[in-house]
């Protein structure tokens, strides 16, 4: 069971309570919440915030593919996964991504959650523009997406 969304922070907030509501069930014995936030330093520069850009349709498609691949790879039964990633401006400490995973057992939840975030980093079309004190903002260099 997957829920996936790109949250435009100029219109609504990303909220972990939504994730909790989605994955809560007595079927699951373990829940993992991964929350990515904006930190104040990167490459020895003082960061003031990040603007996230997204190709929304491809992002959702990639979340669905990653979820399906993880299901095939791990073959766990009864899993709930909630993924939200923001687009727009995020200040220091703001949440950029929430991945909530609920499974029967803790090892499954850790494995599934880790797989999802690592694959998102490799292939989900989201971009970051970092903002600094007294310096021009910069789009961060990323990983090229491979054509299949």
């Amino acid at each position: 069971m997957l829920y996936a969304k790109v949250v435009d922070v100029s219109k609504e907030k990303i909220d972990i309570a939504k994730a909790q509501k989605f994955i809560v069930s007595s079927k699951y014995g373990a829940s993992i919440y991964f929350v990515g936030t904006v930190r104040d330093q990167n490459n020895n520069k003082k960061v003031t915030g990040i603007t996230y850009d997204s190709h929304d349709a491809l992002v959702i498609k990639s979340f669905e593919e990653i979820y399906q691949e993880a299901e095939t790879k791990f073959k766990f039964e009864n899993i709930a996964v909630f993924i939200e990633h923001i687009k727009g401006y995020a200040a220091l400490g703001d949440t950029s991504i929430i991945i909530a995973v609920a499974c029967k057992h803790r090892t499954q939840a850790y494995e599934f959650s880790r797989y999802i975030i690592e694959e998102i980093k490799k292939r989900t079309p989201i971009w970051k523009k970092e903002h600094y004190i007294d310096e021009e903002s910069v789009w961060l260099k990323g990983n090229p997406i491979k054509t299949r």
Partner: protein, 89 residues
Amino acid sequence: MKIKLELFGASRDFSKKDYLEFNLKEKSSIKDLRQKILNFVDSNFKGNENYKKLVLSSTFCSEKNNIVSDNYKITEQQKIGIIPPIGGG
């Protein structure tokens, strides 16, 4: 035919708008479109090397939201997205 190139990530620096428009010959490929964008960078940004590297390292996305290779034939007027190297999370 006219192609609307939707801009994402660092390629947004190519225009104040969210897109660029290019005229392509019928049955052009993504490879041809890539060359058009490189020519655009030459003309509008004095061949900015960082922009050219960005174009060369980008992939492209069809209007049906499929990642397409350089051989993909653009058979009709459509929107194509340029997908620069990614890094969210």
